[in-house]
Protein backbone atom coordinates (compact mmCIF):
# COMPACT_ATOMS: atom_id res chain seq x y z
CA UNK A 1 0.00 0.00 0.00
CA UNK A 2 1.64 3.24 -1.13
CA UNK A 3 1.36 6.60 0.50
CA UNK A 4 -0.53 7.85 -2.57
CA UNK A 5 -2.99 5.53 -4.29
CA UNK A 6 -4.60 6.48 -7.57
CA UNK A 7 -7.28 4.08 -8.73
CA UNK A 8 -9.18 4.05 -12.02
CA UNK A 9 -9.01 7.82 -12.37
CA UNK A 10 -10.62 9.26 -15.47
CA UNK A 11 -11.19 12.85 -16.54
CA UNK A 12 -12.88 14.18 -19.62
CA UNK A 13 -12.89 17.74 -20.96
CA UNK A 14 -15.70 18.01 -23.43
CA UNK A 15 -14.76 15.66 -26.23
CA UNK A 16 -11.24 15.01 -24.98
CA UNK A 17 -10.57 12.08 -22.70
CA UNK A 18 -7.64 13.57 -20.80
CA UNK A 19 -7.21 10.70 -18.36
CA UNK A 20 -8.61 7.23 -18.51
CA UNK A 21 -8.26 4.42 -16.08
CA UNK A 22 -5.14 5.70 -14.39
CA UNK A 23 -3.85 3.41 -11.66
CA UNK A 24 -0.76 4.40 -9.79
CA UNK A 25 0.75 3.76 -6.43
CA UNK A 26 3.55 5.83 -4.99
CA UNK A 27 5.55 4.01 -2.34
CA UNK A 28 6.31 5.83 0.87
CA UNK A 29 9.77 7.35 0.95
CA UNK A 30 10.43 6.84 -2.74
CA UNK A 31 11.17 9.29 -5.55
CA UNK A 32 8.60 8.56 -8.21
CA UNK A 33 8.67 10.22 -11.60
CA UNK A 34 5.80 10.51 -14.01
CA UNK A 35 6.87 11.14 -17.56
CA UNK A 36 5.15 11.28 -20.86
CA UNK A 37 4.96 13.28 -24.06
CA UNK A 38 3.10 16.57 -24.28
CA UNK A 39 -0.62 16.09 -23.88
CA UNK A 40 -0.18 12.78 -22.14
CA UNK A 41 -2.22 14.07 -19.18
CA UNK A 42 0.57 14.64 -16.69
CA UNK A 43 -0.61 18.07 -15.58
CA UNK A 44 -4.24 16.97 -15.48
CA UNK A 45 -3.26 14.11 -13.22
CA UNK A 46 -1.32 16.41 -10.97
CA UNK A 47 -4.21 18.83 -10.75
CA UNK A 48 -6.45 15.95 -9.73
CA UNK A 49 -4.09 15.18 -6.86
CA UNK A 50 -4.00 18.68 -5.42
CA UNK A 51 -7.66 19.53 -5.62
CA UNK A 52 -7.61 21.89 -8.58
CA UNK A 53 -9.57 19.38 -10.65
CA UNK A 54 -11.97 16.68 -9.58
CA UNK A 55 -11.75 13.46 -11.63
CA UNK A 56 -14.92 12.11 -13.18
CA UNK A 57 -14.23 8.58 -12.05
CA UNK A 58 -11.93 6.73 -9.69
CA UNK A 59 -10.37 7.54 -6.38
CA UNK A 60 -7.27 9.23 -5.05
CA UNK A 61 -6.22 8.47 -1.50
CA UNK A 62 -3.36 9.88 0.49
CA UNK A 63 -2.34 7.86 3.53
CA UNK A 64 -5.61 6.01 3.20
CA UNK A 65 -7.78 9.17 3.10
CA UNK A 66 -9.54 10.36 -0.02
CA UNK A 67 -8.44 13.72 -1.33
CA UNK A 68 -11.29 14.04 -3.79
CA UNK A 69 -13.59 16.98 -3.29
CA UNK A 70 -11.21 18.68 -0.92
CA UNK A 71 -9.95 22.16 -1.59
CA UNK A 72 -6.26 22.73 -2.38
CA UNK A 73 -5.54 24.15 1.06
CA UNK A 74 -7.19 21.17 2.76
CA UNK A 75 -5.15 18.73 0.74
CA UNK A 76 -2.06 20.69 1.58
CA UNK A 77 -2.91 20.52 5.26
CA UNK A 78 -3.16 16.72 4.86
CA UNK A 79 0.53 16.68 4.04
CA UNK A 80 0.89 17.22 0.30
CA UNK A 81 2.92 20.18 -0.93
CA UNK A 82 3.24 21.27 -4.50
CA UNK A 83 6.07 22.93 -6.40
CA UNK A 84 4.99 24.69 -9.58
CA UNK A 85 6.51 24.73 -13.03
CA UNK A 86 7.32 28.41 -12.72
CA UNK A 87 8.25 29.21 -9.13
CA UNK A 88 5.20 30.46 -7.26
CA UNK A 89 6.42 32.58 -4.39
CA UNK A 90 5.23 35.81 -2.76
CA UNK A 91 7.15 38.22 -4.93
CA UNK A 92 6.17 41.36 -3.02
CA UNK A 93 7.32 39.95 0.31
CA UNK A 94 10.81 39.48 1.70
CA UNK A 95 12.46 36.06 1.57
CA UNK A 96 12.08 35.70 5.31
CA UNK A 97 8.39 36.50 5.15
CA UNK A 98 8.00 34.00 2.35
CA UNK A 99 9.43 31.38 4.62
CA UNK A 100 7.39 32.42 7.64
CA UNK A 101 4.05 31.92 5.91
CA UNK A 102 4.32 28.13 5.59
CA UNK A 103 5.60 28.00 9.15
CA UNK A 104 2.43 29.75 10.28
CA UNK A 105 0.36 27.45 8.10
CA UNK A 106 2.01 24.43 9.70
CA UNK A 107 1.50 25.68 13.25
CA UNK A 108 -1.81 27.55 13.10
CA UNK A 109 -3.71 25.68 10.42
CA UNK A 110 -5.71 27.03 7.50
CA UNK A 111 -6.98 30.16 9.22
CA UNK A 112 -6.02 32.01 12.36
CA UNK A 113 -7.20 35.54 13.08
CA UNK A 114 -4.01 36.76 14.64
CA UNK A 115 -4.39 40.41 13.74
CA UNK A 116 -2.94 41.94 16.87
CA UNK A 117 0.16 39.90 17.61
CA UNK A 118 3.42 41.03 16.12
CA UNK A 119 4.77 38.80 13.42
CA UNK A 120 8.33 39.78 14.18
CA UNK A 121 8.03 38.79 17.81
CA UNK A 122 6.85 35.25 17.22
CA UNK A 123 10.08 33.52 18.28
CA UNK A 124 8.95 30.03 17.42
CA UNK A 125 8.06 30.96 13.85
CA UNK A 126 11.14 33.08 13.35
CA UNK A 127 13.43 30.32 14.54
CA UNK A 128 11.76 27.79 12.29
CA UNK A 129 11.89 30.07 9.29
CA UNK A 130 15.52 30.97 9.86
CA UNK A 131 16.36 27.33 10.31
CA UNK A 132 14.70 26.51 7.00
CA UNK A 133 16.56 29.34 5.27
CA UNK A 134 19.81 27.97 6.65
CA UNK A 135 18.85 24.57 5.38
CA UNK A 136 18.29 25.99 1.93
CA UNK A 137 21.54 27.95 2.08
CA UNK A 138 19.58 31.18 1.76
CA UNK A 139 20.30 32.82 5.11
CA UNK A 140 22.21 35.61 3.38
CA UNK A 141 19.15 36.46 1.27
CA UNK A 142 16.90 36.78 4.30
CA UNK A 143 15.83 40.39 3.74
CA UNK A 144 15.79 40.40 -0.04
CA UNK A 145 12.70 41.19 -2.01
CA UNK A 146 11.67 37.75 -3.23
CA UNK A 147 10.79 38.91 -6.73
CA UNK A 148 14.29 40.28 -7.25
CA UNK A 149 16.04 36.90 -6.93
CA UNK A 150 17.27 34.68 -9.73
CA UNK A 151 15.05 31.94 -11.02
CA UNK A 152 17.18 29.27 -9.40
CA UNK A 153 16.92 30.99 -6.03
CA UNK A 154 13.20 31.37 -6.42
CA UNK A 155 12.95 27.65 -7.09
CA UNK A 156 15.08 26.94 -4.07
CA UNK A 157 12.92 29.20 -1.93
CA UNK A 158 9.74 27.59 -3.19
CA UNK A 159 11.01 24.13 -2.36
CA UNK A 160 12.11 25.40 1.02
CA UNK A 161 8.67 26.85 1.66
CA UNK A 162 7.12 23.52 0.81
CA UNK A 163 9.51 21.68 3.11
CA UNK A 164 8.84 24.09 5.94
CA UNK A 165 5.43 22.52 6.21
CA UNK A 166 7.03 19.11 6.68
CA UNK A 167 4.89 17.46 4.06
CA UNK A 168 4.89 13.69 3.66
CA UNK A 169 4.47 14.02 -0.07
CA UNK A 170 6.14 16.62 -2.26
CA UNK A 171 4.76 17.04 -5.76
CA UNK A 172 6.97 18.74 -8.31
CA UNK A 173 5.69 19.93 -11.67
CA UNK A 174 8.62 20.11 -14.09
CA UNK A 175 10.80 21.82 -11.49
CA UNK A 176 13.66 22.50 -13.90
CA UNK A 177 11.68 23.73 -16.88
CA UNK A 178 13.33 26.71 -18.48
CA UNK A 179 16.42 26.51 -16.26
CA UNK A 180 20.03 26.76 -17.24
CA UNK A 181 22.06 23.58 -16.91
CA UNK A 182 23.85 24.73 -13.79
CA UNK A 183 20.60 25.63 -12.05
CA UNK A 184 19.11 22.32 -13.14
CA UNK A 185 22.00 20.42 -11.60
CA UNK A 186 21.74 22.43 -8.41
CA UNK A 187 18.06 21.57 -8.21
CA UNK A 188 18.80 17.88 -8.78
CA UNK A 189 21.36 17.94 -5.99
CA UNK A 190 18.95 19.73 -3.72
CA UNK A 191 16.20 17.21 -4.32
CA UNK A 192 18.62 14.32 -3.84
CA UNK A 193 19.73 15.87 -0.58
CA UNK A 194 16.14 16.32 0.54
CA UNK A 195 15.22 12.80 -0.32
CA UNK A 196 18.22 11.43 1.48
CA UNK A 197 17.88 13.48 4.65
CA UNK A 198 14.13 13.65 5.17
CA UNK A 199 11.37 11.11 5.61
CA UNK A 200 9.58 12.35 2.53
CA UNK A 201 8.03 10.94 -0.59
CA UNK A 202 8.65 12.84 -3.81
CA UNK A 203 6.53 12.61 -6.91
CA UNK A 204 7.90 14.48 -9.87
CA UNK A 205 6.47 15.25 -13.25
CA UNK A 206 9.27 15.90 -15.66
CA UNK A 207 10.10 16.34 -19.26
CA UNK A 208 13.86 16.40 -18.87
CA UNK A 209 15.18 12.84 -18.97
CA UNK A 210 18.46 13.90 -17.43
CA UNK A 211 16.58 14.99 -14.31
CA UNK A 212 14.35 11.94 -14.30
CA UNK A 213 17.13 9.42 -14.56
CA UNK A 214 19.28 11.23 -12.01
CA UNK A 215 16.55 11.26 -9.40
CA UNK A 216 13.80 8.73 -9.83
CA UNK A 217 13.63 5.38 -8.17
CA UNK A 218 10.51 4.41 -10.09
CA UNK A 219 9.10 5.86 -13.27
CA UNK A 220 5.57 5.78 -14.65
CA UNK A 221 5.18 6.53 -18.31
CA UNK A 222 1.93 8.20 -19.24
CA UNK A 223 0.69 8.28 -22.80
CA UNK A 224 -2.66 9.50 -24.09
CA UNK A 225 -4.04 9.75 -20.61
CA UNK A 226 -3.22 6.28 -19.48
CA UNK A 227 -0.18 4.67 -17.81
CA UNK A 228 1.90 2.74 -20.29
CA UNK A 229 4.51 1.15 -18.08
CA UNK A 230 5.83 1.52 -14.59
CA UNK A 231 9.30 0.34 -13.70
CA UNK A 232 12.77 1.24 -12.50
CA UNK A 233 14.76 3.77 -14.52
CA UNK A 234 17.08 1.16 -15.96
CA UNK A 235 14.22 -0.93 -17.23
CA UNK A 236 12.39 2.06 -18.58
CA UNK A 237 15.40 3.19 -20.57
CA UNK A 238 15.35 0.06 -22.67
CA UNK A 239 11.64 -0.50 -22.81
CA UNK A 240 10.50 -0.70 -26.44
CA UNK A 241 7.01 0.62 -25.79
CA UNK A 242 8.45 3.67 -24.13
CA UNK A 243 10.88 4.28 -26.91
CA UNK A 244 8.06 4.08 -29.35
CA UNK A 245 5.73 6.37 -27.46
CA UNK A 246 8.09 8.82 -26.01
CA UNK A 247 11.81 8.58 -26.01
CA UNK A 248 12.09 8.49 -29.77
CA UNK A 249 10.85 12.01 -30.08
CA UNK A 250 12.77 13.41 -27.17
CA UNK A 251 16.16 11.87 -27.89
CA UNK A 252 17.55 15.35 -27.87
CA UNK A 253 17.68 15.28 -24.11
Amino acid sequence: MGILEIKNVGKRFGGLQALSDVNLSVAEGSVHAIIGPNGAGKSTLLNCLVGKLIPDTGSVTFEGQSVLGRKPYEINQMGISRVFQTPEIFGDLSVMENMMIPCFAKRDGAFELNAYGSMMKDKEIIERAEHMLDDMNMADKRDMHAASMSRGDKRRLEIGMCLAQEPRLLLLDEPTAGMARADTNNTIDLLKHISATRPITIAIIEHDMHVVFSLAERITVLAQGTPLVEDTPDNIKGHPKVREAYLGESSGH
Partner: protein, 399 residues
Protein backbone atom coordinates in the same frame (compact mmCIF):
# COMPACT_ATOMS: atom_id res chain seq x y z
CA UNK B 1 6.97 50.48 22.71
CA UNK B 2 3.32 49.44 22.66
CA UNK B 3 4.32 46.35 20.75
CA UNK B 4 5.66 48.38 17.83
CA UNK B 5 9.13 48.57 16.40
CA UNK B 6 11.03 51.81 16.76
CA UNK B 7 10.14 53.10 13.33
CA UNK B 8 6.43 52.45 13.68
CA UNK B 9 6.46 53.91 17.14
CA UNK B 10 8.06 57.09 15.85
CA UNK B 11 5.34 57.28 13.19
CA UNK B 12 2.61 56.79 15.78
CA UNK B 13 4.22 59.44 17.94
CA UNK B 14 4.34 61.83 15.01
CA UNK B 15 0.69 61.24 14.19
CA UNK B 16 -0.23 61.68 17.85
CA UNK B 17 1.56 65.00 17.99
CA UNK B 18 -0.13 66.07 14.78
CA UNK B 19 -3.55 65.14 16.11
CA UNK B 20 -3.07 66.76 19.49
CA UNK B 21 -1.65 69.98 18.13
CA UNK B 22 -3.71 70.11 14.93
CA UNK B 23 -5.65 73.15 16.19
CA UNK B 24 -2.31 74.96 16.28
CA UNK B 25 -0.71 73.56 13.12
CA UNK B 26 -3.84 74.14 11.10
CA UNK B 27 -4.21 77.77 12.15
CA UNK B 28 -0.80 79.13 11.20
CA UNK B 29 -2.08 82.55 10.17
CA UNK B 30 -3.26 85.36 12.43
CA UNK B 31 -7.07 85.53 12.50
CA UNK B 32 -7.40 88.83 10.76
CA UNK B 33 -4.66 88.51 8.19
CA UNK B 34 -5.53 87.95 4.55
CA UNK B 35 -4.01 84.49 4.78
CA UNK B 36 -6.50 83.48 7.49
CA UNK B 37 -8.57 82.16 4.62
CA UNK B 38 -6.18 79.22 4.55
CA UNK B 39 -6.58 78.40 8.22
CA UNK B 40 -8.20 75.02 8.62
CA UNK B 41 -8.21 74.80 12.37
CA UNK B 42 -11.92 75.04 13.03
CA UNK B 43 -13.80 72.17 14.65
CA UNK B 44 -15.82 70.88 11.73
CA UNK B 45 -12.93 70.58 9.33
CA UNK B 46 -10.59 69.10 11.91
CA UNK B 47 -13.25 66.54 12.73
CA UNK B 48 -13.59 65.75 9.06
CA UNK B 49 -9.83 65.32 8.71
CA UNK B 50 -9.65 62.65 11.39
CA UNK B 51 -12.95 60.97 10.52
CA UNK B 52 -12.12 60.63 6.84
CA UNK B 53 -8.65 59.61 8.00
CA UNK B 54 -10.24 56.68 9.81
CA UNK B 55 -12.31 55.84 6.75
CA UNK B 56 -9.24 55.88 4.52
CA UNK B 57 -7.09 53.91 6.97
CA UNK B 58 -9.77 51.23 7.04
CA UNK B 59 -10.10 51.22 3.29
CA UNK B 60 -6.37 50.88 2.96
CA UNK B 61 -6.37 47.79 5.17
CA UNK B 62 -8.44 46.16 2.48
CA UNK B 63 -7.08 47.74 -0.67
CA UNK B 64 -3.52 48.42 0.37
CA UNK B 65 -2.86 45.03 1.89
CA UNK B 66 -4.91 42.63 -0.22
CA UNK B 67 -5.22 44.61 -3.44
CA UNK B 68 -8.99 44.02 -3.48
CA UNK B 69 -10.49 47.29 -4.70
CA UNK B 70 -13.87 47.82 -3.11
CA UNK B 71 -15.84 50.41 -5.00
CA UNK B 72 -18.70 50.43 -2.57
CA UNK B 73 -17.07 51.18 0.73
CA UNK B 74 -19.20 54.24 1.35
CA UNK B 75 -22.13 51.89 1.94
CA UNK B 76 -20.59 50.94 5.28
CA UNK B 77 -19.97 54.54 6.20
CA UNK B 78 -23.60 55.30 5.43
CA UNK B 79 -24.90 52.31 7.35
CA UNK B 80 -22.78 53.32 10.31
CA UNK B 81 -24.21 56.83 10.20
CA UNK B 82 -27.78 55.61 10.09
CA UNK B 83 -27.17 53.22 12.95
CA UNK B 84 -25.60 55.98 15.01
CA UNK B 85 -28.39 58.48 14.40
CA UNK B 86 -30.97 55.86 15.30
CA UNK B 87 -29.14 55.23 18.55
CA UNK B 88 -29.10 58.96 19.25
CA UNK B 89 -32.81 59.06 18.54
CA UNK B 90 -33.91 55.97 20.36
CA UNK B 91 -31.47 55.25 23.17
CA UNK B 92 -29.46 58.17 24.43
CA UNK B 93 -27.82 61.35 23.23
CA UNK B 94 -24.55 59.98 24.59
CA UNK B 95 -22.36 59.24 21.60
CA UNK B 96 -20.55 56.16 22.90
CA UNK B 97 -23.37 53.64 22.34
CA UNK B 98 -23.99 55.24 18.93
CA UNK B 99 -20.36 54.85 17.87
CA UNK B 100 -20.19 51.32 19.17
CA UNK B 101 -23.40 50.23 17.47
CA UNK B 102 -22.47 51.93 14.21
CA UNK B 103 -19.24 49.95 14.10
CA UNK B 104 -21.02 46.68 14.81
CA UNK B 105 -23.83 47.29 12.34
CA UNK B 106 -21.40 48.25 9.59
CA UNK B 107 -19.39 45.13 10.40
CA UNK B 108 -22.46 42.93 10.01
CA UNK B 109 -23.37 44.63 6.77
CA UNK B 110 -19.82 44.13 5.54
CA UNK B 111 -20.01 40.49 6.51
CA UNK B 112 -23.07 40.07 4.34
CA UNK B 113 -21.75 41.97 1.33
CA UNK B 114 -18.25 40.57 1.69
CA UNK B 115 -19.53 37.02 1.87
CA UNK B 116 -21.17 37.42 -1.53
CA UNK B 117 -18.70 39.76 -3.24
CA UNK B 118 -15.60 37.80 -2.24
CA UNK B 119 -16.74 34.92 -4.37
CA UNK B 120 -15.15 36.90 -7.18
CA UNK B 121 -11.85 38.69 -7.48
CA UNK B 122 -10.32 41.54 -9.46
CA UNK B 123 -12.63 43.83 -11.38
CA UNK B 124 -15.56 41.50 -10.82
CA UNK B 125 -15.20 42.00 -7.08
CA UNK B 126 -15.05 45.78 -7.56
CA UNK B 127 -18.23 45.83 -9.60
CA UNK B 128 -20.06 43.59 -7.12
CA UNK B 129 -19.24 45.92 -4.24
CA UNK B 130 -20.18 48.91 -6.38
CA UNK B 131 -23.49 47.32 -7.28
CA UNK B 132 -24.35 46.58 -3.65
CA UNK B 133 -23.49 50.11 -2.58
CA UNK B 134 -25.52 51.65 -5.38
CA UNK B 135 -28.48 49.50 -4.43
CA UNK B 136 -28.08 50.57 -0.82
CA UNK B 137 -27.99 54.21 -1.92
CA UNK B 138 -30.99 53.93 -4.23
CA UNK B 139 -33.10 52.14 -1.66
CA UNK B 140 -32.08 54.47 1.17
CA UNK B 141 -32.94 57.51 -0.92
CA UNK B 142 -36.37 56.26 -1.95
CA UNK B 143 -38.14 53.10 -0.82
CA UNK B 144 -36.64 53.02 2.65
CA UNK B 145 -37.41 56.67 3.40
CA UNK B 146 -39.17 55.79 6.64
CA UNK B 147 -35.96 54.22 7.89
CA UNK B 148 -33.43 56.60 6.39
CA UNK B 149 -35.16 59.93 6.04
CA UNK B 150 -34.75 59.62 2.27
CA UNK B 151 -32.79 62.19 0.37
CA UNK B 152 -33.14 64.76 3.15
CA UNK B 153 -31.44 62.44 5.58
CA UNK B 154 -32.09 61.10 9.04
CA UNK B 155 -31.99 63.66 11.83
CA UNK B 156 -32.67 63.88 15.50
CA UNK B 157 -36.02 65.41 16.37
CA UNK B 158 -37.76 66.97 19.33
CA UNK B 159 -40.13 64.04 19.49
CA UNK B 160 -37.41 61.38 19.75
CA UNK B 161 -38.06 58.96 22.61
CA UNK B 162 -34.42 58.50 23.80
CA UNK B 163 -35.22 55.84 26.36
CA UNK B 164 -32.33 56.64 28.68
CA UNK B 165 -32.33 60.42 28.80
CA UNK B 166 -35.31 61.61 26.82
CA UNK B 167 -36.79 63.40 29.80
CA UNK B 168 -33.65 65.38 30.51
CA UNK B 169 -33.85 67.39 27.26
CA UNK B 170 -34.08 71.15 27.45
CA UNK B 171 -37.57 72.13 26.44
CA UNK B 172 -37.90 73.29 22.86
CA UNK B 173 -34.45 72.36 21.69
CA UNK B 174 -33.00 69.06 20.59
CA UNK B 175 -30.05 68.18 22.80
CA UNK B 176 -26.68 68.09 21.08
CA UNK B 177 -24.75 64.80 21.03
CA UNK B 178 -22.56 64.57 24.07
CA UNK B 179 -20.22 62.34 25.99
CA UNK B 180 -21.57 61.92 29.52
CA UNK B 181 -22.98 65.40 29.47
CA UNK B 182 -20.06 67.08 27.70
CA UNK B 183 -21.31 68.26 24.35
CA UNK B 184 -19.38 67.37 21.22
CA UNK B 185 -19.57 70.98 20.09
CA UNK B 186 -18.10 72.35 23.31
CA UNK B 187 -15.32 74.62 22.18
CA UNK B 188 -12.69 76.76 23.82
CA UNK B 189 -10.65 79.35 22.03
CA UNK B 190 -7.10 80.07 23.07
CA UNK B 191 -5.60 83.32 21.97
CA UNK B 192 -1.97 84.21 21.55
CA UNK B 193 -1.77 87.74 20.32
CA UNK B 194 -3.26 87.75 16.85
CA UNK B 195 -3.50 84.00 16.70
CA UNK B 196 -6.50 82.02 17.86
CA UNK B 197 -6.63 78.27 18.29
CA UNK B 198 -9.89 76.41 18.68
CA UNK B 199 -10.01 73.39 20.96
CA UNK B 200 -13.10 71.30 20.44
CA UNK B 201 -14.22 68.31 22.47
CA UNK B 202 -15.73 66.49 19.49
CA UNK B 203 -12.51 66.82 17.58
CA UNK B 204 -10.47 65.36 20.40
CA UNK B 205 -12.88 62.46 20.79
CA UNK B 206 -12.73 61.74 17.07
CA UNK B 207 -8.97 62.27 17.19
CA UNK B 208 -8.64 59.73 19.99
CA UNK B 209 -10.60 57.22 17.94
CA UNK B 210 -8.41 58.01 14.96
CA UNK B 211 -5.25 57.39 16.94
CA UNK B 212 -6.65 54.11 18.20
CA UNK B 213 -7.64 53.18 14.66
CA UNK B 214 -4.23 54.14 13.38
CA UNK B 215 -2.47 52.18 16.08
CA UNK B 216 -4.64 49.18 15.33
CA UNK B 217 -3.89 49.45 11.64
CA UNK B 218 -0.15 49.35 12.39
CA UNK B 219 -0.68 46.30 14.54
CA UNK B 220 -2.74 44.62 11.83
CA UNK B 221 -0.19 45.42 9.16
CA UNK B 222 2.64 44.00 11.24
CA UNK B 223 0.71 40.96 12.42
CA UNK B 224 0.74 37.49 10.90
CA UNK B 225 -2.77 38.25 9.70
CA UNK B 226 -1.49 41.34 7.92
CA UNK B 227 1.28 39.32 6.33
CA UNK B 228 -1.27 36.81 5.07
CA UNK B 229 -3.23 39.67 3.54
CA UNK B 230 -0.15 40.93 1.76
CA UNK B 231 0.51 37.37 0.66
CA UNK B 232 -2.99 37.27 -0.84
CA UNK B 233 -2.16 40.37 -2.87
CA UNK B 234 1.14 38.89 -3.94
CA UNK B 235 0.18 35.34 -4.87
CA UNK B 236 -3.13 33.87 -3.92
CA UNK B 237 -2.41 30.57 -5.62
CA UNK B 238 0.71 29.94 -3.57
CA UNK B 239 -1.17 30.76 -0.42
CA UNK B 240 -3.83 28.17 -1.25
CA UNK B 241 -1.16 25.59 -1.90
CA UNK B 242 0.50 26.49 1.38
CA UNK B 243 -2.48 25.17 3.25
CA UNK B 244 -4.05 28.53 3.97
CA UNK B 245 -7.68 29.25 3.32
CA UNK B 246 -7.79 32.69 1.74
CA UNK B 247 -11.58 33.09 2.07
CA UNK B 248 -11.80 33.71 5.83
CA UNK B 249 -8.73 35.93 5.66
CA UNK B 250 -10.34 38.06 2.99
CA UNK B 251 -13.68 38.11 4.73
CA UNK B 252 -12.14 39.06 8.06
CA UNK B 253 -10.20 41.82 6.35
CA UNK B 254 -13.30 43.05 4.54
CA UNK B 255 -15.27 43.11 7.77
CA UNK B 256 -12.51 44.93 9.66
CA UNK B 257 -12.31 47.45 6.87
CA UNK B 258 -16.09 47.83 6.88
CA UNK B 259 -16.03 48.39 10.64
CA UNK B 260 -13.50 51.18 10.21
CA UNK B 261 -15.90 52.76 7.72
CA UNK B 262 -18.75 52.22 10.16
CA UNK B 263 -16.73 53.84 12.93
CA UNK B 264 -16.11 56.82 10.68
CA UNK B 265 -19.81 57.00 9.86
CA UNK B 266 -20.73 56.74 13.52
CA UNK B 267 -18.32 59.52 14.44
CA UNK B 268 -19.70 61.72 11.67
CA UNK B 269 -23.15 61.28 13.12
CA UNK B 270 -21.84 61.86 16.64
CA UNK B 271 -20.24 65.15 15.63
CA UNK B 272 -23.24 66.20 13.57
CA UNK B 273 -26.39 64.12 14.00
CA UNK B 274 -27.41 63.74 10.38
CA UNK B 275 -27.14 60.78 8.05
CA UNK B 276 -27.91 61.22 4.39
CA UNK B 277 -28.23 58.73 1.58
CA UNK B 278 -25.69 60.52 -0.57
CA UNK B 279 -23.02 59.29 1.83
CA UNK B 280 -23.47 55.93 0.10
CA UNK B 281 -23.44 57.16 -3.49
CA UNK B 282 -20.67 55.83 -5.69
CA UNK B 283 -18.91 59.18 -5.72
CA UNK B 284 -18.44 58.84 -1.96
CA UNK B 285 -16.93 55.40 -2.48
CA UNK B 286 -14.80 56.81 -5.24
CA UNK B 287 -13.64 59.58 -2.93
CA UNK B 288 -12.09 57.18 -0.43
CA UNK B 289 -10.42 55.27 -3.26
CA UNK B 290 -8.95 58.52 -4.49
CA UNK B 291 -7.89 59.58 -0.99
CA UNK B 292 -6.00 56.35 -0.53
CA UNK B 293 -4.28 56.42 -3.88
CA UNK B 294 -3.49 60.10 -3.55
CA UNK B 295 -1.83 59.55 -0.20
CA UNK B 296 -0.08 56.32 -1.14
CA UNK B 297 -1.65 52.87 -1.39
CA UNK B 298 -0.44 50.41 1.22
CA UNK B 299 1.36 52.99 3.29
CA UNK B 300 0.30 53.57 6.85
CA UNK B 301 0.08 57.34 6.87
CA UNK B 302 -0.72 57.95 3.19
CA UNK B 303 -4.49 57.53 3.32
CA UNK B 304 -4.72 60.02 6.18
CA UNK B 305 -2.77 62.58 4.15
CA UNK B 306 -4.91 61.94 1.09
CA UNK B 307 -8.08 62.38 3.10
CA UNK B 308 -6.70 65.60 4.56
CA UNK B 309 -5.78 67.05 1.19
CA UNK B 310 -9.16 66.37 -0.39
CA UNK B 311 -11.14 67.68 2.56
CA UNK B 312 -8.93 70.75 2.70
CA UNK B 313 -9.59 71.50 -0.96
CA UNK B 314 -13.28 70.88 -0.57
CA UNK B 315 -13.68 73.14 2.44
CA UNK B 316 -11.05 75.82 2.03
CA UNK B 317 -10.45 76.31 -1.69
CA UNK B 318 -14.18 76.20 -2.41
CA UNK B 319 -14.75 79.09 -0.02
CA UNK B 320 -12.41 81.55 -1.66
CA UNK B 321 -14.57 83.87 -3.73
CA UNK B 322 -13.89 86.67 -6.12
CA UNK B 323 -14.19 89.31 -3.40
CA UNK B 324 -11.56 87.51 -1.33
CA UNK B 325 -9.22 87.43 -4.32
CA UNK B 326 -9.65 91.13 -4.87
CA UNK B 327 -8.86 91.82 -1.22
CA UNK B 328 -5.65 89.80 -1.52
CA UNK B 329 -4.38 91.54 -4.59
CA UNK B 330 -5.65 94.99 -3.71
CA UNK B 331 -2.03 96.14 -3.41
CA UNK B 332 -1.52 95.69 -7.15
CA UNK B 333 -2.36 98.44 -9.65
CA UNK B 334 -5.99 98.17 -10.78
CA UNK B 335 -5.46 96.64 -14.22
CA UNK B 336 -2.95 94.16 -12.92
CA UNK B 337 -5.16 93.27 -9.98
CA UNK B 338 -8.01 92.41 -12.31
CA UNK B 339 -5.72 90.40 -14.55
CA UNK B 340 -4.32 88.38 -11.66
CA UNK B 341 -7.77 87.79 -10.22
CA UNK B 342 -9.10 86.73 -13.61
CA UNK B 343 -6.21 84.31 -13.93
CA UNK B 344 -6.73 82.66 -10.56
CA UNK B 345 -10.51 82.84 -10.40
CA UNK B 346 -11.26 79.72 -12.50
CA UNK B 347 -9.32 77.59 -10.01
CA UNK B 348 -10.94 78.67 -6.77
CA UNK B 349 -14.45 78.98 -5.39
CA UNK B 350 -16.77 77.30 -7.82
CA UNK B 351 -13.74 76.08 -9.74
CA UNK B 352 -12.30 74.10 -6.83
CA UNK B 353 -13.12 70.85 -8.60
CA UNK B 354 -10.81 71.87 -11.43
CA UNK B 355 -7.95 72.38 -9.01
CA UNK B 356 -8.75 69.02 -7.46
CA UNK B 357 -8.58 67.27 -10.82
CA UNK B 358 -5.30 68.93 -11.66
CA UNK B 359 -3.83 67.96 -8.29
CA UNK B 360 -4.84 64.32 -8.86
CA UNK B 361 -3.08 64.27 -12.19
CA UNK B 362 0.05 66.05 -11.01
CA UNK B 363 0.43 63.78 -8.00
CA UNK B 364 -0.03 60.57 -9.89
CA UNK B 365 2.25 61.66 -12.72
CA UNK B 366 5.10 63.03 -10.63
CA UNK B 367 4.72 61.07 -7.41
CA UNK B 368 3.79 57.52 -8.42
CA UNK B 369 3.73 56.45 -4.77
CA UNK B 370 1.39 59.24 -3.74
CA UNK B 371 1.98 62.00 -1.23
CA UNK B 372 4.00 59.70 1.02
CA UNK B 373 6.54 59.35 -1.73
CA UNK B 374 6.63 63.09 -2.08
CA UNK B 375 7.34 63.32 1.62
CA UNK B 376 10.07 60.73 1.34
CA UNK B 377 11.65 62.64 -1.52
CA UNK B 378 11.73 65.82 0.52
CA UNK B 379 13.01 63.95 3.54
CA UNK B 380 15.62 62.35 1.31
CA UNK B 381 16.82 65.74 0.15
CA UNK B 382 17.30 66.88 3.73
CA UNK B 383 19.06 63.70 4.69
CA UNK B 384 21.45 64.00 1.80
CA UNK B 385 22.24 67.52 2.81
CA UNK B 386 22.90 66.55 6.39
CA UNK B 387 25.37 63.81 5.74
CA UNK B 388 26.11 61.01 3.39
CA UNK B 389 25.07 58.33 5.80
CA UNK B 390 23.71 55.84 3.39
CA UNK B 391 20.96 53.90 5.02
CA UNK B 392 20.73 50.99 2.65
CA UNK B 393 18.47 49.05 4.88
CA UNK B 394 16.36 46.33 3.48
CA UNK B 395 13.16 47.49 1.99
CA UNK B 396 10.60 47.32 4.71
CA UNK B 397 7.20 46.63 3.34
CA UNK B 398 4.17 48.75 3.97
CA UNK B 399 5.92 51.84 5.18
Amino acid sequence: MLGLNAKDFRLLLLVTILVVFAPVFLNPFPVDSAMAQFNAGYPDLMQRFVIFGIFAIGFNILFGLTGYLSFGHAAFLGTGSYAAVWMLKLLTINVLPAILVSTIVAGLFALLIGFVSLRRSGIYFSILTLAFAQMAFALAASVLTSLTGGETGLQTALSDPRILDGAAAVAGNIPAPSLFGYEMRATTTMRFGDWAFTLNLGYYLAGAFMLAAFYLSIRITRSPFGMMLRAIKSNQQRLNYTGLNTKPYMLACFVISGMYAGLAGGLMAAMDPLAGAERMFWTASGEVVVMTILGGVGTLIGPVLGAGLIKYMENIVSKINEATLHSWFAFLPDGMEDAVVALIYPFIGKGWNLTLGIVFMLVVIFLPGGLVQGGQKIAGLFRRKKSAEASTKAQTPAE
